[in-house]
């Protein structure tokens, strides 16, 4: 654990990230409305997320950002309105959509009893692809976790655990990233590197949907959506 002191540099390598095919993807929401216990979080929301864009959802606490991301990523079903993936109704193309989606929620989804390598192996297998140890080691290196590959994740600090989750960005080549507060617990250098990675992904033709309280540096690919 090299003493566990001092910030670890996150060195995201945009070249590690290759998309399977030239993309022109698009997730559309039409007249989206969500009611939670008789209160409308949002109503009549129209949203288009296309290749090459970073869309940032903004709004105060409790305005429904997380709820929106969960609806868009297909986890919540109690909403009204329509979702389209590449112009087809979501119901019909759900599996293709899921195969192209990478979702990172509030909770990192990292098993404390498994090592970072084992965690990543499971995530890769979940997409139906066994992957290789080298790939996973590279991805861990890219988030500054070299030397921690075999330490049980429970012994890592909160920030390092989130980096394990972020390694999936590099590892699995999904086109649509849905990230809920990805900067949580990440230190300043890490935030910069991650931001660069988001921009690189968008520029390479991916789409990013993100909520965060951090201010993102203005960029040509950034679009904002205000809730609440």
């Amino acid at each position: 654990m090299t003493g566990g002191k001092g910030p670890f540099r996150v060195e995201f390598d945009p070249k590690l990230m290759r998309l399977e095919r030239p993309l022109s993807l698009c997730l559309q929401a039409r007249k989206l409305a969500c009611e939670r216990d008789d209160r409308w979080l949002f109503e009549g929301l129209d949203l288009d997320i296309r290749s090459g864009e970073i869309v940032r959802i903004e709004g105060p606490n409790g305005s429904g950002k997380t709820t929106l991301l969960k609806i868009l990523s297909g986890q919540l079903s109690d909403y009204s309105g329509e979702l389209y993936w590449n112009d087809a109704p979501m119901r019909q193309v759900r599996e293709h959509f899921l195969a192209n989606l990478l979702y990172l929620g509030h909770a990192p989804g990292v098993k404390t009893g498994l090592s970072p390598l084992e965690n990543l192996a499971w995530y890769q297998a979940l997409s139906g692809d066994k992957g290789s140890e080298t790939q996973r080691e590279k991805a861990l290196a890219a988030v500054g976790l070299t030397g921690f590959e075999d330490v049980p994740a429970g012994q890592l600090s909160a920030g390092q655990q989130r980096r394990v989750a972020l390694a999936r960005l590099t590892l699995t080549q999904r086109a649509l990233w849905v990230l809920d507060e990805p900067f949580t617990a990440i230190d300043r250098d890490g935030v910069d590197a991650l931001e660069k990675q988001l921009i690189a992904h968008a520029q390479a033709g991916g789409c990013v949907l993100v909520t965060t309280h951090h201010e993102l540096t203005a960029s040509s690919v950034l679009r904002r959506v205000q809730l609440g």
């Binding site: 986890q75 919540l76 079903s77 979702y103 989804g109 084992e118 192996a121 979940l126 692809d129």
Partner: protein, 230 residues
């Protein structure tokens, strides 16, 4: 569909392996139900009477009830860990049927809880003066029965995973559904003691297992989706 054809197998076996590793690493998780089983069985002679004859006559029921409770209590953690750390969301978002992935988790639960309980029961049977000749049937009925218990119980576990106080509520939901399994499980052991035919009991236990195996995974998947919504 988009996902590779062999993909489902890879995902299911990886999930199976992951849960197995996790459980085996925390040995307590595997031992606790066994020790609970043994402890509860020791309570009965203390609370009722140490008379071997009396104990022998009630032993099949006691063993089955205690094993059932041990299996039940260990169910609470089946999905809770995944729910708490967010991997349940990831399971739901995998491009594979959730029912299959859930089934892999249930299989691990049975392998590390139900099966050991079945193997341990004969030892406790000796302590309760269970008549000879029924030990094999006891273990076999428990092995088949706990598989149904794991499947049915997993529905309850999936329904309560998002709730702060799952434990006792889970029992309330699941115990009534366990009763058929208990009847035929304990019945098989009784029949073996009395020298009656055990085949019908075991056949029905098998049928219950088949029905649970066919229906439970879908109910588990639906319940998990509800809990994630909650």
């Amino acid at each position: 569909m988009h996902a590779a054809p062999g993909g489902l197998l890879v995902a299911v076996s990886a999930t199976f392996k992951r849960d197995l590793t996790l459980m085996l690493r925390r040995r307590g998780e595997v031992l606790n139900p066994l020790v609970f089983f043994a402890l509860v069985i020791t309570l009965f002679p203390i609370g009722i009477s140490p008379d071997p004859e009396l104990l022998a006559s009630i032993a099949p029921g006691l063993l089955w009830v205690a094993a059932l409770l041990a299996a039940l209590l260990s169910l609470d953690s089946l999905f809770r860990g995944d729910y708490d750390d967010g991997s349940l969301e990831q399971l739901l978002l995998a491009p594979h049927p959730l029912a299959a992935l859930g089934l892999a988790k249930v299989a691990v639960h049975w392998l590390l809880t139900g099966l050991p309980l079945a193997l341990m029961a004969p030892v406790l049977g000796i302590m309760l003066a269970l008549p000879a000749g029924s030990y094999a049937v006891l273990a076999l009925s428990l092995a088949v029965g706990t598989a149904s218990l794991s499947l049915i119980g997993a529905i309850g576990a999936a329904l309560t995973v998002g709730l702060a106080r799952g434990g006792v509520l889970l029992s309330l939901l699941v115990l009534p559904l366990y009763i058929p399994v208990l009847i035929f499980g304990a019945g098989a052991v009784q029949a073996a003691i009395l020298g009656d035919g055990i085949a019908p009991h075991l056949a029905i236990l098998g049928a219950l297992f088949t029905v649970s195996l066919m229906l439970a995974p879908w109910a588990i998947a639906a319940s998990l989706r509800i809990s994630i919504n909650g």
